[in-house]
């Protein structure tokens, strides 16, 4: 498949077939010739193909992403940089972003997931931020699919393997299993770092004559063409032909991060040593050099012979397109080369001047003393093609709810389904506490809460999406991803201050897929506007389809919230005797009312900050029954709930269309909760209390008040805990 291209010499001129093999269509190839005023050679064509790939150029999605609300009083850096940055007060800010590594993780689950984590961590620390938290959203095929055990097991090990070694706590995770992901799993990784709000670094190559430096690991022939691979659908049977995936080295990345932190802080008296910095992610040296030059309106000249390599005889093409991990490109101030090199030497890392900033707007690639490629930076980066692809309404898909038999068994099967079962087996493989700043992780609360070191401030975060809802209604599903994130973070007392989104969809050339993509963006826009959450970074992953069968549209949304003083919000753990109450409104149609969501979020936040509830769970996926079981499990006790008379029991327990949250209230604070709920005009229903050895649900006036079901907690919790390990069984040891 790639043989023709591979045989071409760097300086040979290319043909339209070569362009096609690299993923450029005929019109794009024509445009490339127009840009250069001549036929590109192989290296140049490789640069075009990478820069104009879907992955790097966002050619199908960019016009739509413009619709997202991206500004706000706290936003310091919005989309366009390596990560978004939001002010959190006291001179501190947080940088965060989410990124997909879906295709590589399917091919090599351990390394694919690991390098996904590595990539997003680099995006965050290039901004000058020390990573303090990571999250992930994973979607696997149905549990029975023969590949699921190895994929689940490998991906989880890979995420843990990288994050644990690097030393970032993985504090929250969302995992689901669904046949729609059988051939295309999702691995979305999020990272968040903390920095001073006046010390933000950007990927810019300015200042003519400044040195361009290469730091970090050596370059090998890893994942050449990864960017274009992420821009192409799978076809069954083709898996073997895929190019090698990259192998990550978290140890090296940890050293790279420490060295970068030292570099950022160096020589403050003279305004620092550095001008700009960018990680080498997808399309490696190509994307970093073109983007840095394009942002600054400058050019760069790169001597490829100076690039540190770990293999002999690498061609210009390979050097430009390698996706070897743990590398950065930086532009230092002229004359500071030695000081920069000394910092990296402390950490045993390569640091080499490979070129210089120029003023002609061109990226000039030199090898063996001759120019082997000359390309205008801007035309390949910011001025990449953009498409308004045709859209069509996607047919709504959704399984009508199966007729419900006796409430108990149905609800039991529901809460013990793989989607809702606890993911402790996964969480346990992640170091959730390194950094000693994890106040709450996903096993203890509906969102994670991590301290800003040295302060009493904390950031809350959750990463959410229910793909099933997006297939049923792409706009509503996307709205709900935002809603879930806002409610979860509010439940731990945080004010949502920013979001990042990872838009996972199928083939954008299919009008229905493009239609659901556009609807998804619209849904995020609506919810973010209504709930005051600017989107500051994100990622788009298209072509998640195999033989035309696409995944559920899955716009994952990471919401980040701020707690200004975490001490009162963490009075104690939930315990026996605490009241269980439901705040909110029952289902009224399938589209959630954003005004109500906002009021509910404000109320649960205010109550938490006042120490009036000690745990809470939004009622969304899985309905009230899932929320109750989750709360009981977290408290490690039984729970009794008495549903109000007159409601349909199955609806009350299973409906996912209400706006509500269950709160756990210490008895002496119940009065306060009543008052505040009344003032906020949010309905409040006291359901029962935590305690005992059973999870029991009754309804007033039904069966004479006798429980509709009562489950022994020991057996229930054991059954719940066994679900995910059972799926993982049989995986590669």
């Amino acid at each position: 498949m790639k043989t023709a291209v591979a045989r071409l010499k760097d300086t040979d001129l290319t043909a339209v077939e070569h362009a096609r093999e690299m993923g450029l269509d005929d019109a794009e190839f024509a445009r490339a010739q127009q840009v250069l005023g001549r036929v590109p050679n192989k290296v140049e064509l490789g640069c075009f193909a990478a820069m104009w790939s879907e992955h790097c150029s966002y050619k199908s999605s960019r016009t739509h992403l413009r619709r997202l609300p991206t500004t706000g009083p706290r936003v310091l850096v919005g989309p366009g940089e390596n990560a978004g940055v939001v002010d959190v007060g006291e001179g501190w800010a947080v940088a965060f972003k989410v990124e997909s590594h879906n295709h590589p993780s399917y091919i090599e689950p351990y390394q694919g997931a690991a390098t996904g984590v590595g990539g997003i961590l680099r995006d965050v620390f290039t901004m000058g931020a020390r990573p303090i938290a990571a999250m992930n959203l994973l979607r696997f095929g149905r549990p029975e699919h023969p590949k699921t055990p190895a994929l689940l097991s490998g991906v989880v090990k890979g995420i843990g393997g990288y994050g644990n070694c690097f030393g970032v706590p993985t504090v929250y995770s969302s995992t689901d299993f669904d046949a729609r992901y059988d051939g295309n799993i999702l691995v979305n990784a999020f990272a968040l770092g903390v920095l001073r709000s006046d010390a933000i670094w950007k990927g810019t190559a300015s200042g003519v004559g400044n040195p361009v430096m290469y730091v970090g690991a050596k370059t090998g022939r890893d994942g050449i063409h990864g960017a274009t691979m992420a821009s192409d659908s799978f076809s069954e049977g083709e898996e073997q032909d895929r190019p090698t995936v990259q192998v990550g080295d978290p140890f090296k990345e940890k050293l790279l991060m420490e060295a970068c932190m030292a570099l950022f802080a160096a020589a403050p008296e003279s305004g620092g040593l550095l001008v700009g910095i960018q990680d080498m992610g997808a399309a490696g040296l190509t994307s970093s050099s073109f983007e840095m030059a394009s942002r600054a309106g400058s050019g760069v000249r790169i001597d490829l012979d100076r690039v540190p390599t770990r293999e002999r005889g690498m061609s210009a093409y390979e050097l430009m397109l390698s996706e070897s991990q743990e590398r950065m490109l930086l532009v230092a101030k002229r004359g500071c080369e030695e000081a920069v090199r000394a910092i990296f030497a402390t950490w045993d890392l390569d640091c080499v001047v490979i070129g210089a900033v120029t003023d002609d707007g061109m990226v000039r690639l030199v090898k063996g003393g001759a120019e082997v490629g000359v390309l205008p930076a801007r035309a390949l980066a910011d001025d990449a093609p953009r498409y308004q692809r045709p859209t069509a309404a996607a047919p709504a898909e959704g399984e009508p709810r199966a007729p419900l038999g006796r409430v108990g068994p149905t609800v039991r099967a529901h809460v013990t389904s793989p989607s809702l079962a606890p993911k402790s087996w996964i969480y346990r493989q992640y170091d959730r506490e390194v950094g000693a700043g994890t106040l709450l992780d996903g096993t203890r609360a509906p969102a994670a809460l991590v301290r800003i070191p040295g302060t009493h401030r904390a950031v809350a975060m959750a990463l959410c999406c229910v793909g099933r809802w997006c297939s049923a209604d792409p706009r509503e599903g996307a709205r709900r991803a935002v809603i879930e994130g806002v409610l979860r973070t509010s439940c731990v007392g945080a004010l949502p201050i920013g979001a990042t989104d990872c838009l996972n969809y199928g083939n954008p050339r299919v009008p229905e897929v493009m239609g659901s993509f556009v609807e998804g963006v619209e849904g995020i826009r609506e919810a973010c506007l209504a709930l005051d959450v600017p989107v500051v970074s994100g990622n788009v992953s298209l072509y998640n389809a195999t033989d035309d069968r696409a995944i559920h549209p899955t716009p994952a949304v990471g919401v980040v919230g701020l707690v200004e003083d975490f001490r009162p919000a963490l009075p104690r753990d939930a315990q026996t005797g605490d009241t269980v109450a439901l705040l909110g409104w029952p289902a009224q149609g399938t589209s959630l009312d954003l005004g109500r969501v906002r009021r509910l979020a404000e109320l649960v936040r205010e109550l938490r900050v006042a120490g009036a509830h000690v745990d809470a769970q939004p009622v969304l996926e899985g309905g009230l029954s899932a929320a109750l079981v989750e709360l009981a499990r977290r408290a490690g006790t039984g729970l009794f709930a008495n549903l109000p008379a007159g409601t349909d029991v199955t609806d009350a327990l299973l409906s996912e269309d209400g706006v509500g949250a269950v709160v756990v209230v210490p008895p002496d604070r119940l009065q306060l909760v009543h008052e505040r709920a009344q003032r906020a005009e949010v309905p409040l229903e006291v359901l029962g209390a935590l305690g005992g050895h059973q999870v029991a649900v009754a309804q007033q006036g039904t069966q004479g008040g006798a429980p509709l079901f009562e489950w022994d907690t020991e057996a229930l919790f054991a059954e719940l805990e066994a679900v995910v390990p059972r799926i993982a069984q049989g995986a590669r040891p």
């Binding site: 090599e108 090998g220 022939r221 890893d222 090698t244 995936v245 192998v247 080295d249 090296k252 070897s324």
Partner: protein, 79 residues
């Protein structure tokens, strides 16, 4: 019969472990050491005659012991 499957990273694949060991050995004064690569040696008892066993070991490697995307393997049967 005692048999072995040797699993190695493909030559072009990065071996961070090998690199770290190389550096450490050089640091200990073994300055001539280069190109350190770390592989896995899986030793096991199998039943059947040598020819059949080799095919079976290859099947084990294909299915479980190695990932062809990044690893090569080699099977050996003790004479």
């Amino acid at each position: 019969m005692r048999a072995r499957v040797i699993v190695r990273l493909k030559p072009a694949v990065l071996d961070p472990q090998g690199e770290a060991i190389e550096r450490a050995l050089q640091g200990l004064g073994f300055s001539g050491v280069k190109n350190v690569r770390v592989g896995k040696l899986i030793e096991l008892d199998v039943e059947g005659d040598a020819g059949l066993v080799k095919a079976e070991l290859a099947a084990m490697a294909d299915k479980l012991l190695a990932n062809p995307v990044i690893e090569d393997y080699q099977v050996e049967v003790a004479r």
